[in-house]
Symmetry: D2
Subunit: 362 residues, 4 copies
């Protein structure tokens, strides 16, 4: 069983993750891991913070001579900015709507929202990408790839091949991924990418922020990951949790998702043929199991909740109305969230694969 | 910690659930539980099967003198139809698209799909509703209610107060729930209910099936359920898994969900005011925690995958193309799924409440 | 991953267990399960209760046509005595020392100890034996056997081959097991068996009770179950928990156990040879993993805490000193505990085996 | 729920632990943590390694302004010796009997035992002591203390007040602890301490090693930690696992432990009186729950498996018989194991306390 715990605050010494349960013998590489982390970090719309973050990730345990040993893998991502924050404490007294600030302060009984903001920061997701790297390496040994791209930012939608194709055809999916990798907003449509960047510029100017939609596809997944036998072993349930847990994500759908509610059974299902199926509206999951088609999901991310032109809030000390506090922050991080989603999906799939290769079929 | 395991096959002796971790001292009642189960069972579009199912549920342990004792609670829901199936074995050799049949058979190495169909049957969700009943009783002691209604079946959408209101105003939500409870399709719009029933009749005639959309609201939830401190403790992630695990559900969104991807931060967030907030677009969850507003989620259910006028399939014995096998089945079960979703949401909230009242704030 | 939850009270309708995670395709048999349950039930020193208990166990799910299906397995062991207790409630107001009565009542806030006694009853262990049956069947497919015998009851110790041999030589272990199976106290020494029975008779006459020591051996265990990589994956830790969780067990040792504290390293360790090792003082576990030798553990059970000639207690209503309440009870149940221990050990080993065959070595 | 994962190898950059689930608001201190770690490190019989280990522990997350924040706590214990090992790789080709070497190499498929030895090293237990420190701070807020002492090393037994008193009388226990804290072998008997040191000197001279017995007591534990309602929630089971998981521990007993097997019920049980009970033979646990008396357990540790005058082994490359490889190692580490046991016990109790204060009694 794969399990991982992450630790670390936004302005603390660094982010740490421990991943337990990785099999021995997987070749891994610190440079490659660093590269993977940089995929999350960059992107048009990311704030200054993302630029300060660095690649000096260290694998401090669980790997010997370039191979996993089966022991817990620890990863440390130092925070370059820490020296500047070490002896500072800037309280947050005007909680930001949409952020963990207010409920977090109340839950844990803090006197201001700083301790919340430190941990609730999306910087934590770097740790998930680090863990996801190892899961991806495991999957890759079996030929499985997890890829993603952005389809929408604010009101700009990419002009892409129809969803039917994106979730059905491996070549289409791979091509979209390659295009996304070279886009600053991780969007495969070059024209839309430019418009999205402009939209981000506009938002920045207005002190506003943006969200969007991304898609994740897992290619070459064997049949039978997950199980219908118990609700918490269903692959769809586990994927939904993994992706919904990414800060800002407010919706997840698998395959045609919400569109399946509108059509009849005849239109919704993917006929079984002797050759490959003729469609993949189910997004590669039937009965809570992978069915051999591309696993495909979409997620919606709300706009970043820290606004430079802030919304109304209440000062928790004076109890008076005010504007929400501001912090250095991103304008838009949909592309980064997509990379995090890849990692979370990879971790779920790797765990399900370990279970499948284990005792499911004796 | 609440944990539950369910067991039972569609045509076996009955469905069993054990719920472990319920506090002692909660008043419960077998009749009330039976009534709750009947909410899942009934509904226009449910097949003959739903009518055979019965209310003779037994609580066989964990309750003494009408109160929970802290011991594991076992519930047994006997299957009246069992006598007719006891000595029969009807193999399924033409797997149904959209069902667990094919990937399940491959995963577990069966010779036909019957063993899959028996467990993958939605009848298992009766066990979840039974567990949910206890969770609801616990929540109710704290004034928390979990309710649901159907907004769409196939292409018929209910004419309801706008989403902004449904997720914000407790009175609106409660009224929708009451209306839904007296609708045969659990839809609060009387006119749409009639149209939905007609659509279901049409589908039945064509040997087709339908899906739809439902909404779940949890009222009076205290601040601080779930936590931002670790991804798997986030309430939104846990709710997404719980609802996505319901057979047929292909999409889950919280608050405004996918619509939040299109708007800017200024439009997406719920300003913090001294009095109650002016909106609840976040659906009651910020930073993975309940924020004191209504917890609101929507889910899309695909059409039932067993069609009386079946889709292409392949006979797994002859390896020839054929039509998918048929079984007695529902035409539409969106209302039932909504009741199951209430139960799953209640179980997640109850568990989070047990955790909150524990050590989160010392 | 194997997981199981049990439910049921001593005088309720029955004992229920659900075992989740069993692979598909294991042949099982209700009669054989019933026989396994009877091994726990019988034994000199068991009370009238054990005689009332019956073999009418039902597997209500997870098995089709004599084979496990991968779905959760539910077992129901009805309680014949239930009809006599159904409408009775006999409060326990004078808690029994050594029993869960007093701390249980305080923990859960009951008004008397009856609800505690109902669940804390050792009858619950029937459910564990039922789950253990399935684990044993899985292990047996791999040639692994889990066996046990009693070495001591009160001050009567069996005259057995030395511990060095018992834990080293499979033939010795098997022979001890066969002898134990035909002894009413599950002791391989016929003479000691008779003395033990006499001791039990004496204790019964005095209104007293007895405990003892038993040993469990697992034969033909492959190398590498469990792991040194994390404390909670160590096989020794998991076995210790599994056996210590049996009511009445107060000590567990692996291999030479406490005796290893007295000797030097040279005397304590099992040299590695090209052929089989020359000793097995480690009891088959090194570094928290099985090392290919017999897994051997010993456990001490305290005397049954319900005495017919009871010890001082305090009436929880009058707050006055009194004698502890009595219930129908066993005089000695060491042989039964040994059978339960076999089951718990089998469940741990089966789970570890599922993990090993999974991803530990890719 | 408290959970923790540790990572790190013996000669790697350092040992890391993440502890998740600690409530917010507990005052902690890096210096105090460092002191606690030094309690594990020192001791007569510890090797040169223990001297190289250092106190420069860093809390890198989960603590702000000297208080826990509810976020995961990460602790990093750097390895001073790392610089010397960084570019070295000294294979272990002659596995040490009693060590994880041989089964570990086979399980994970390594070409030599070095990767096993690195992780199976007892240095990992430093991470547990670090986690235990936080658990102790939580317990201490409730007045609970966890203490330990050594009673035996090899054949030298301490002359201590009888077990009946040690497990019953808080003052006796505290006094033993204080004496142990000033003994180089953590033994409360000054004379025996000297003899133990001599024994250790002798063993060192002979290239041999030693084990022993230690006792752990938890004072002022409230009634009702753990539960009889399910086997895996029993406090005794959880404590047994926690202590048995410490490298080298081969036996655990609670209260009078194995001695309870020899006596009758009348002699074994602790009568319930209006005032404090007259004995504590149960070691503070009845029915798997704390009963308000001192929680008392004993554990046996086998001798260290790395001998300077090594036992027979087999060279895994040449397949020829040889002597087991040697490493720098301790002669005796019973005192250190006792400190680790304190930590593990504290972690179990803290978790049970969080559960109790949560929903067990509504």
């Amino acid at each position: 069983m794969l399990r991982f715990i992450t630790a670390g605050e936004s302005h603390g010494p660094g982010i740490i993750a421990i991943l337990e349960g990785m099999p021995a013998g997987i070749e891994v590489d610190e440079k490659e891991l660093s590269l993977e982390l940089s995929r999350r970090r960059k992107g048009y719309g990311r704030g200054g913070r993302a630029k300060i973050e660095d690649d000096e990730v260290q694998i401090t345990s669980g790997v010997i001579a370039g191979k996993t040993t089966g022991a817990p893998i620890a990863v440390f991502i130092p925070n370059k900015d820490y020296v500047n924050w070490k002896d500072k404490y800037i309280p947050i007294v005007a909680p930001r709507p949409g952020h963990a600030d207010l409920p977090g302060m109340i839950k844990y009984g803090f006197e201001d929202c700083r301790p919340v903001a430190e941990r609730a920061s999306a910087r934590e997701t770097a740790a998930r990408v680090a863990c996801g790297y190892f899961a991806k390496k495991l999957l890759y040994k079996e030929g499985i790839e997890v890829i993603s791209w952005v389809t929408q930012i604010g009101q700009i939608s990419a002009d892409l091949p129809p969803m039917d194709e994106r979730m059905y055809d491996e070549n289409v999916a791979k091509k979209l991924f390659l295009l996304a990798e070279s886009s600053e907003v991780r969007c495969p449509d070059t024209l839309a990418s430019e418009q999205m960047k402009k939209l981000i510029d506009d938002a920045r100017e207005k002190g506003d922020t943006l969200g969007g939609i991304f898609e994740v596809a897992a290619l070459n997944v064997p049949i039978g990951l997950g199980s219908y036998v118990h609700w918490d072993r269903r692959l769809d349930a586990r994927l939904a949790a993994a992706v919904m847990s990414i800060p800002g994500v407010k919706g997840v759908e698998i395959g045609m998702g919400f569109k399946l509610a509108e059509v009849s059974g005849r239109e919704a299902l993917d006929p079984i043929l002797i050759s490959k199926r003729s469609s993949n509206k189910a997004g590669g999951i039937e009965g809570g199991m992978s069915n051999g088609e591309i696993i495909f999901l979409r997620a919606a991310m709300k706009p970043i909740p820290t606004l430079q032109n802030p919304l109304p809030s209440v000062n928790i000390v004076t109890k008076k109305e005010c504007r929400a506090q501001t912090e250095r922050s991103d304008i838009c991080a949909v592309g980064s969230a997509a990379v995090v989603a890849e990692s979370m999906v990879a971790l779920v799939l790797a765990d399900a694969l370990l279970e499948l290769r284990g005792g499911d079929r004796w």
